[in-house]
Structure formats: structure tokens, C-alpha cells
Amino acid sequence: MPSAPQPRFLPAGDTALIVEFGDRVDWHLSALVLVLAQKLEAAKPTGVIEAVPTFRSLMVHYDPLATSHADLQRAIAALLPGLEARSIAGRRWRIPACYDPSLGLDLAEVGRRTGLSPSQVVERHSQTSQLVYMMGFLPGLPYLGDLAEAFALPRRENPRLKVPSGSVAIAMSMTVIYPQESPGGWHILARTPVPLWQMRKAPPALLAAGDQVTFAPLSLREYERMLAKAAAAELCLAPEGPQPQGRGA
């Protein structure tokens, strides 16, 4: 039975604070964050606007006219005793993605930096079953992990101003998929034709925290065919099934 977790409270100006459980990507930390987010939602402390869970911390946005950093920190600290990591049941997805170098812009560089051939990079990346830790950065953008240690590359020193929509990119043993064109600093390995965010759907996001994802490599021709179907709103990806229960901490 773990004792009450002792997170750090970090300032983020006068409209947000961070409850930090750790500084690494870790299922246990992630579960603590999600459970605290649920407790906070139920407790509804005065002045809280919304809370954003990440791998290892919870950002709480607040109205400085309705509360203060000090009052809010006290209210959150009161929720910590008895906080335990619980598993989250998600769905299993196999997402088609094309690793052709014309779309996987950094595939060759990742190969050089990891000492793997491009085909080894594709094989290892696509076959690893990855957990959706959180959504963030952009509408519908999932953070997936964990990949093998070989993929523990830092982000690019200079982020790209434009990463193409659908790009599948890695850094720090994790994967993100860009739901639309955006600036971004991750290394691009592939591109998926599957839309990750569709406003007309409820919820608009394809994936959710707790889902499991593998990638199905596509030829350039198959990618283009599926992209055309997606453009005509005829591409509908279904999950392969629910995730087996009881992913251990």
C-alpha cells in the first residue's frame, strides 16, 4: 500500500500551477495524474477553470480573481492522501502509416543516430504496442509510448515551422501523430492517412488516453489511395478490440 504521494507544486504564472509527480514517462506516474484529475473534477475547488493531465504532472488552470496559488495548492494537497494509481481500460488500434522517405522525412537521420537500418527502424517502430499516455499540444494529438531505448532521441534543436498533417514522429522513446499541419520538433518517421480529429464526430478525437496502438506500414500507393478515401470522408478506422484488462503498474 503506497503512502500519500508527495508531488511538487510548481508555479506557472498567476493563472496556472503544476502538480508534478515525477519527471519521467511512467505508467504509474501517469495513472496518479489521471486519478488526481478525477478527484479534482469531483471536488471542484473555487476558481479552477480546467485541469490538463500529462505523463507526470497535472496542470491546473485557474482564475486569479477567484482564488490564489496558495489557496489552490492547499485545496489540491487535501486531495492527495489515499491517492493511488489505478489502471485505465482502453481500446486497441492498428493505424496504417506510410514510412516512405518522401513522407518519413527524418527516417534516414533516425537510422543514422540509432545505428539501425531504415527497415529496422520501420519494423521496430510499427510493431511496438504503445500506450496513449495523454492528448495534448493540438486537438486530437496523442502521445504514445514506450518505444525501445534506442529511440530515446532528444527533440530537434530547431523545431520545424511546418510539420505536415498526419506525420508520425518520435522523440524520447515516444511517438506523436500530428492531426494537422503544425510547428513541431519531433523526428518524422511516417505519415498516416487516418484523420485523428473530426469536428463532426463526438468525441472529435479518434484516440483517448489509455488506448493501445500499433502501426501497419503502407506502400506509398496504398497511402495515396487511403488519403483520397479520407478526403471523401469514406475512411473509417475501427479499433481491433478492447485492451486486455489489468495492465500492471
Binding site: G13, D14, I18, F137, L138
Partner: protein, 351 residues
């Protein structure tokens, strides 16, 4: 009977914005909203709207809009620009001063020039635009094509439907003495990842003057100047949440201040956060402007937020009514009020 504004020329970057779209950041949806919420609120106040009604955010260069309605009441607040009202034949019949409401009738055209004094201005219409909110907000997030008019900046020939096809003739409103001048130093609270920087890096941030880069947009203000030195902990962090005004510093050491359209989470170390009261100021800075920082504690930041809220609440008391707008010598009024303070409704002979 319906009414609309038709876009003759869109300006450089004109988007519909309101007070933003909070509540969906956990799905990755940025908050968005007006960059300079002080000027945004002033524009709404002048046409008699509530504080959060969607208005056009105009960056750098104003649009030209024609009135396809019986009549519409418009006010523009923020950066100053020449604003001409053209007759259907194309002749300039009068001008509309910034920070003053005016009634335009069908067929008239509003032509706005380049902004000075601020990078942005807000054009509010009485009653607002008849555009359905997305996830509770009319704000445009162009990067994700969410909200606003078709999720994008305005283009020529767009037709913006109005909630009100006609507005009553009445006294117009004028607001003076709104201080939009940039502060000498923008206030920041250190953290959340100030421990990813060396003492020299922190000193550089607090003693240098930076220049706003042309690569600045609604997502982030990129700064040029001395790079900030990261400590051995490096520039890369495991992604966490991003507050409005967070100053993230990627590997090249150059700070980026994250603004209204900021990403919800991110993985570059954030050395400090601009206090909420100074966020509207940032929205007004154009590329080439200088910026320097001053560290304050959270209590001071919270006090500044309360002060700004009081200033915003006081704005309504500074609105004067103008029986005959054409009689007002705007330049003289501005000059006097910049010296003597604010115009009260009583002094200006209400009604």
C-alpha cells in the same frame, strides 16, 4: 431581413475572436481568443455588447468591409488607423475615429488602413456576428481550422452574417485615455522549469533587451537577442502543461512566449511565465519592438491581475456619449485627455 458585412479586402490577418475556448485543453484544444483582451473589451463596450461577444481581430493592416444590411453599429479599438467611410459610389463621406462607435447604413463601405501604436485592433458590431460557436466559442484557431469564419482568416468576398440586420439611431459612444503604451519591463514569474537554466542564463533573461521576431504569430512570440544558457538538465523535458504567457526556451536558447493559440502541452523547458496582467501588452507588440523582463513573485502577479480587472471594470465609467459625432474634434479630445486623465460622462455633457 438578414444583414451581413461583406469582405472587400481582408487585411493582413483578420480573424473572429472572443474571450477564448477554455475547458477542452485535455483533448488538446488550445484556448485561443483575443490577443489584447483590453482593446477587445473596449470595442464591445462601445457598441453596447457584453464583454465576450465575438469581434474581428485585425493584425497590422485593416480590412475593407461593405455593409449588406439596413444598418450596423461598429466600433474599432486598439491600434490607430485611418478609418474611412465610403459612399456606394466610392467617395469618402466621413471618417470613423478609433475608440468611438458609429452607425453605417446599407451600401456604405468601411476602409481601414495600416495600424500604428499596436499590432492589433478589434472591430465589434452591435449584437455581434451570427456565427455558430464551436466548443462554446467563436474564436478562430486557424492552425486547426476550428471556430470563427470557416476556421480561417478572412478572405475577399467572405460574407459575415450579423445578429442584427438594423440598429437604432442613437447617441454614439467614445472612450478616451485607454493606456496602450508598452511597459518598460514585462513582468514574469520564474518557473516552472527555471532549474533547467544556469544562473547566467537567468541573469541574461532579466538583464537583456530582446526584439520581437517577424516569425511571431498568435501561437507564440519569438524573440531575438542573447541566447539563454540551459543547465546540464537541458532544454528537453517530459511534456507538461503550458500556461498562457509561458516562456519556453528550445535548444537554440531563444525564448518563445506562448500566446492565445499556444499548444496545450509541450516539451521545451519553460524558464518563466508572463503575468496575466501583461498579456494584453504582448498582443500589441509588432515585430521589431523591444522587450525586457522583470521578475515578480506570484502574490505581485495576482495583485496585478486584480488591478487590471479593476481598470477593465472602470472602463465603462469612462465611456462618454456623443450626440453628434461629426462635432467631435477627436485629436483635441485625445490630446487633452492624455494630459488630464479620463473623460467622465458628466463632464462631456451626457446626452
Amino acid at each position: 431581413m438578414t444583414g451581413a458585412l461583406r469582405v472587400v479586402a481582408p487585411g493582413l490577418m483578420t480573424t473572429l475572436q472572443d474571450l477564448g475556448r477554455p475547458g477542452y485543453q485535455r483533448l488538446g484544444v488550445p484556448v485561443s481568443g483575443a490577443l489584447d483582451q483590453l482593446s477587445f473589451r473596449a470595442a464591445n463596450l462601445l457598441v453596447g455588447n457584453g464583454p465576450g461577444v465575438g469581434a474581428l481581430e485585425i493584425a497590422y493592416q485593416g480590412p475593407t468591409l461593405s455593409v449588406d444590411a439596413d444598418s450596423v453599429r461598429i466600433a474599432i479599438a486598439g491600434g490607430h488607423a485611418p478609418i474611412d467611410i465610403l459612399q456606394p459610389g466610392g467617395e469618402v463621406s466621413r471618417s470613423l475615429a478609433p475608440f468611438q462607435s458609429g452607425r453605417l447604413v446599407g451600401g456604405e463601405v468601411l476602409r481601414m488602413g495600416a495600424l500604428t501604436g499596436s499590432a492589433v485592433a478589434y472591430l465589434a458590431v452591435e449584437g455581434g456576428f451570427d456565427i455558430a460557436p464551436v466548443l462554446g466559442s467563436q474564436s478562430t484557431l486557424t492552425r486547426a481550422a476550428i471556430g470563427g469564419f470557416k476556421g480561417r482568416a478572412l478572405q475577399a468576398e467572405d460574407v459575415l452574417p450579423l445578429k442584427q440586420a438594423a440598429v437604432a439611431e442613437r447617441d454614439e459612444c467614445i472612450l478616451a485615455a485607454l493606456d496602450l503604451a508598452p511597459p518598460k519591463r514585462v513582468r514574469i514569474v520564474l518557473g516552472p522549469q527555471d532549474d533547467h537554466f544556469t544562473p547566467a542564463g537567468l541573469r541574461t533573461l532579466l538583464t537583456s533587451t530582446y526584439t520581437v521576431s517577424p516569425a511571431t504569430d498568435r501561437m507564440g512570440m519569438r524573440l531575438e537577442g542573447p541566447p539563454l544558457e540551459h543547465s546540464s538538465r537541458g532544454y528537453d523535458i517530459v511534456s507538461d502543461g503550458i500556461a498562457l504567457g509561458a516562456i519556453q526556451v528550445p535548444g537554440n536558447g531563444l525564448p518563445i512566449i506562448l500566446l492565445a493559440d499556444r499548444q496545450t502541452t509541450g516539451g521545451y523547458a519553460k524558464i518563466a511565465t508572463v503575468v496575466s496582467a501583461d498579456i494584453p501588452t504582448l498582443g500589441r507588440l509588432a515585430p521589431g519592438a523591444s522587450i525586457a523582463f522583470e521578475a515578480v513573485d506570484i502574490a505581485a502577479a495576482e495583485a496585478a491581475a486584480r488591478r487590471l480587472a479593476r481598470d477593465i471594470a472602470a472602463m465603462a465609467a469612462n465611456v462618454a456619449s456623443v450626440r453628434r459625432p461629426s462635432d467631435i474634434d477627436w485629436k483635441r479630445l485625445m490630446a487633452e485627455n492624455l494630459v488630464s486623465g479620463v473623460v467622465s460622462a458628466r463632464e462631456s455633457g451626457e446626452g
